[in-house]
């Protein structure tokens, strides 16, 4: 697809001169103007554009925050208060960044479930999918590091608990943890390095996003039927059709985003983070941000420290290999009657783990988090390979155009 010929025609002397030296406008035109895109994409396909918007918001607000933030154990908390009270528009910019992290994860999770539902990870999109899993991994690390920066109680104790996960490594765990801390406990050196890396990682994400889109444009978008593009009739050009659709979705998303920023900026946060970090007192309940709760539930579901950590890491890393775990011949869950209920069970599992991650790991809560943790892994390791082998798919349309035009015809007779 990326080798489809761009219809670009330089319009003036300068662009002709540029085109012969660096055909960047030709490339952009080919990839984002006349790029052939399946004609049947639904709104779940707008989340890629929404995610690009989120990344830009985080970069811009983050670089501004860094102009006023002081990465020092004695001053970080004060400097964030200074941003909130003194800096012109500081509260708006900080709330946008903090809420932005949540919106980013919301969009990323929807984007990923979209991929799981329509089988977008299956051949030939394995590399595209793997790049996506790498992006979510780096995003998780970036958000964790960003959350540490205001140096409130939750920041400090989240860093303490998470860095202590490394002590679970046999023999060298202790030395690795001290290396991460730059001391014998979480302190000023730790805060400084977290800030340095929190500034760096979003640019790593940007680079990965570049590769992700490159890989997308080599194989082309999947679509709700999971049937590959066969003829030109199956596609429309990216501009104006999908630019408009993506733009509309970004605006709708921005409304939700703005609602949180203006009306509930602290709703997604934790009140303990308004108390400055105190290494002598642990808050009564340590709860991560909502987007980490399912992973936190998995960590705590397992009674052994080392295996708990391993399970939590595997919960993400298992996504790397699902292109090879799924044995189904067809992509879209739309035509997979046997797999469909399992897919929804998996969605419920993730939501339930998110709920349980915020509860004390005792009694029925602990039991439930164990059951759902078990299903999380069973889904990938057992259901995906086995169901694909035994399932008889429903009839899949011959082409994208068929599926779309057929539908139109039926709706016409209904009128």
């Amino acid at each position: 697809m990326s080798d489809h010929s761009s219809s670009y025609v330089p319009s003036n002397g300068f662009t002709r001169w540029l085109d012969e030296r660096l055909p960047v406008l030709r490339m952009m035109h080919g990839q984002f103007i006349d790029f052939p895109t399946p004609r049947n994409l639904n709104y779940f396909w707008t989340f890629g554009g929404i995610l690009t918007f989120c990344l830009m918001v985080q970069l811009i607000t983050g670089i501004i925050l860094a102009m006023h933030f002081v990465a020092h154990g004695d001053h970080a908390f004060q400097s964030v208060e200074h941003i909130m009270r003194d800096v012109n528009w500081g509260d708006l910019i900080r709330y946008t960044h903090a809420v932005g992290a949540s919106m980013f994860f919301l969009a990323a999770y929807i984007h990923m479930f979209r991929g799981l539902y329509y089988g977008s990870y299956k051949s030939p999109r394995e590399i595209l999918w793997i790049l996506g899993v790498m992006i979510i991994l780096v995003m998780i690390i970036t958000a964790f590091m960003g959350y540490s920066l205001p140096w409130g109680q939750m920041s400090f104790w989240a860093v303490t608990v998470i860095t202590n996960l490394f002590t679970a490594i046999p023999f060298v765990g202790e030395s690795i943890t001290q290396w991460i801390w730059g001391g014998y406990s979480v302190g000023d050196p730790t805060l400084n390095r977290l800030f340095s890396l929190h500034y760096l990682f979003p640019f790593v994400i940007a680079a990965l996003v570049g590769l992700h889109i490159w890989a997308l444009h080599v194989v082309g978008s999947n679509n709700p039927t999971g049937v590959e593009v066969k003829t030109e009739k199956d596609t429309v050009s990216f501009f104006p059709f999908y630019i408009i659709k993506d733009g509309f979705a970004v605006i709708m998303f921005a409304l939700l985003f703005a609602w949180f920023v203006f009306y509930a900026p602290n709703y997604l946060g934790h009140s303990d983070n308004f108390i400055e970090a105190n290494p002598l007192q642990t808050p009564q309940h340590i709860v991560p941000e909502w987007y980490f709760l399912p992973f936190y539930a998995i960590l705590r579901a397992i009674p052994d420290k080392l295996f708990g950590v391993i399970a939590m890491i595997l919960a993400i890393c298992v996504l790397f290999v699902i292109p090879w775990l799924d044995t189904s011949r067809i992509r879209s869950v739309r035509y997979r009657p046997l797999y469909k209920p399992f897919f929804w069970l998996f969605v419920i599992t993730c939501l339930a783990l998110g709920y349980l991650g915020a509860k004390a790991p005792e009694g029925y809560y602990l039991l439930a988090s164990r059951i759902f943790t078990a299903y999380y892994f069973i889904h990938f390791l057992v259901v995906m390979p086995v169901v694909g082998l035994y399932e008889t798919p429903k009839e899949v349309p011959d082409s994208i155009a068929d599926s779309v035009l057929g539908k139109e015809a039926t709706s016409e007779t209904a009128q």
Partner: protein, 176 residues
Amino acid sequence: MSSDQNDVGRRDFLMVAAGSFAAVGGAAALWPLIDQMNPDASAKALASVEVDLAPIKDGQAITIMWRGKPVFIRKRTAQEIAAAEEVDVNDLPDPQSDSARVEKPEWLVLIGICTHLGCIPRGQAAGDLHGDFGGWFCPCHGSHYDTSGRIRKGPAPRNLEVPPYAFVTDSKIKIG
């Protein structure tokens, strides 16, 4: 022919030698970049503190900072010592006798960091919970420690650590 073969042998040798030098040189250049993150001279300089024990009464506990970590110092009562000593060591998750954890039975000195994931257990202040075994209780994930600071129940794998310390005089210790 034979000189050709010599050439090949010599080239292989040069390739391997150059490769090894590059690898060793690369590793040597990398080390400072990694090691700079380890605790620095100023962190190590704070490595020891002296504590005067004279003002601490029976059953009282104080917390001091050592290397950025809280250290719990507790003057144990006779019952607490007895409770710690009479446990069957083999029943413990991390078997250790009380006498191996103290210099003098009435003074218990511990690093106040839960060995699970690093929270500060409760049990120092007067009104605190002490857990099911009369020592400390970690609220993060529910670990219970006894009057010797040993793990008795909950997810923590090890006993609270005893820092290196020595009595300088009868009523003064040096930690570190």
